[in-house]
């Protein structure tokens, strides 16, 4: 365990939030550019991609949020043994409040009982912070800003699903994913990226699906069967023709990332976390010297 300076780390976390909200990761921008090129000249799909790419550049150049829905702020924090989760949580909260003051984040936390917006993006369960201890000698903070539109089309199936003829096997998993993307249409700000969690209980399955979304688009699943499934789904889902914003087009999905957990004999959940094209995920590492790197 090493010492860090509270004030400095709070500022570094603020910078992490700023980057997440205003600067889309390079792998996502590359994928959007490829999608733009792939649509025919004069089509509305091409025009949508063109506008979105300009918006991405503008947000970065002027350091303003690319999307007004700065979403649920989902943190994965990896810590070496001995660090206080409560202290790190407090610093994330401080950075969050300041990010709202600077208009990097929208105040997005509404009391579910009273309907009152807290005004500072903090509240019960917001932001969502998941800690894990690891063997490395540095801390890593991963953040994702996940908008409400795409969260609303995210879903969970339990197999077997009689209506879809989906059994408790990989073919069944394939069927429910196709159904979910078809039902979502453009509502989740297509083109989307899918994080899939197979197995677990209802809660762990959903989290496993979200954790898949921290993978980069060009990576390949270590499990050969799932790697095959990911590329098959990516190709097939783009046959749906939903296109950007649901206007029709060749690109409906930019990536599919699948993970699995053990399950109970009685349960077979498939969780589908749909992420919008504004796939805002960033990470930051902090070492013993107080140095940070951003990705």
């Amino acid at each position: 365990m090493f010492q860090y300076d509270d004030k400095k780390l709070k500022d570094q976390l603020l910078e992490l939030i700023r980057r997440a909200a205003t600067d889309l990761p390079e792998d996502v921008v590359d994928s959007m550019r490829a999608a733009w090129k792939n649509e025919p000249e004069g089509s509305s799909a091409r025009s949508v991609f063109g506008m979105l790419l300009k918006n991405i550049e503008l947000a970065k150049a002027e350091s303003i949020p690319m999307c007004q829905d700065t979403g649920t702020n989902i943190y994965l924090v990896y810590i070496p043994e001995g660090f206080s989760m409560r202290k790190l949580t407090a610093l994330i909260h401080e950075a969050t409040e300041e990010a709202v003051e600077k208009s990097y984040l929208r105040p997005n936390a509404v009391d579910s009982i009273t309907g009152k917006n807290s005004g500072n993006n903090l509240g019960e369960g917001q932001p969502f912070i998941h800690f894990e201890e690891w063997d490395e000698d540095y801390i890593e903070f991963k953040i994702m800003l996940k908008g409400g539109g795409c969260e609303n089309v995210s879903t969970q199936y339990k197999l077997p699903d009689v209506d879809l003829g989906a059994d408790r096997d990989m073919d069944g998993v394939y069927k429910v994913i196709v159904d979910a993307v078809n039902e979502a249409q453009g509502q989740g700000c297509a083109p989307g990226i899918l994080g899939i969690g197979i197995g677990g209980d209802r809660a762990s399955s959903s989290l496993a699906a979200k954790i898949q979304l921290y993978r980069k688009l060009p990576d390949t699943n270590e499990n050969a069967e799932m790697a095959k499934m990911e590329s098959k789904l990516l190709a097939d889902l783009n046959e749906l023709g939903v296109g950007p914003m649901g206007f029709g087009g060749k690109t409906t999905i930019l990536g599919v990332k699948i993970g699995s957990l053990h399950r109970l004999p009685a349960s077979f959940f498939v969780s589908i976390s749909y992420m919008c094209w504004a796939y805002r995920r960033r990470s930051m590492t902090l070492n013993a010297k107080g140095e940070v790197t951003y990705d």
Partner: protein, 193 residues
């Protein structure tokens, strides 16, 4: 690109067809989830001047408050419209609203309402928030900020050349229905072979 100046007449709106690209200028008001519920339960008269022959924008902006008390929009893309499906047709009819701007399209009740009232659904590009905020040239005022919070308050704004596409018109046309019926066929083949 068809230029639309607000306020706008029912006749001008009835000329629009799905697929038309428009650029909107003039005063309009934002309203989303909590605002629609409030309207539906109270039918307030104070909203009438902001709504008549104008448009409702489904948007919860990121804003900046300046030292002189004025506001500007920093990021202001559309939010998903389907959540307002239980209210929108009645709201449009009651206040003579000529269009709603949002994303994702709306359902059968709204589509029927558009034909009856003389209105259209305008699809803005989801997530185009930095660019769309630039078309909001002035924030006239904000209403019920304390009660509803920044994203859900009524923001009375002035836009210039705000881009959108007609995806539901007053003649029963819906691009969303067309795309869905095409993708349903593909999905059925992928699922059932």
């Amino acid at each position: 690109m068809i230029k639309l100046q607000l306020p706008i007449s029912e006749e001008a709106i009835r000329e629009l067809k799905i697929g038309d690209e428009v650029a909107i200028s003039g005063p309009m008001i934002t309203a989303r989830d909590a605002a629609h519920k409030y309207i539906y339960e109270n039918w307030p008269d104070w909203l009438k001047p902001f709504m008549k022959n104008s448009m409702i924008y489904h948007c919860g902006p990121v804003v900046k408050k300046h030292d002189d008390g004025s506001w500007s929009f920093v990021a202001a893309g559309p939010t998903t419209s389907i959540r307002e499906e239980p209210y929108e047709a009645s709201v449009m009819e009651h206040y003579h609203v000529r269009a709603v701007i949002g994303k994702g399209g709306m359902g059968e009740t709204t589509l029927a309402g558009l034909a009856k009232t003389g209105g259209v659904y305008l699809h803005a590009i989801g997530g185009l928030a930095a660019s769309l905020a630039k078309t909001v040239v002035k924030v006239h005022d904000v209403y019920m900020l304390e009660e509803l919070g920044v994203p859900e308050a009524f923001w009375h704004i002035e836009v210039k050349d705000f881009p959108a596409v007609v995806t539901m018109d007053s003649h029963g046309g819906s691009l969303h229905k067309t795309i869905k019926s095409q993708s349903d066929k593909v999905a059925k083949k992928l699922i059932f072979g």
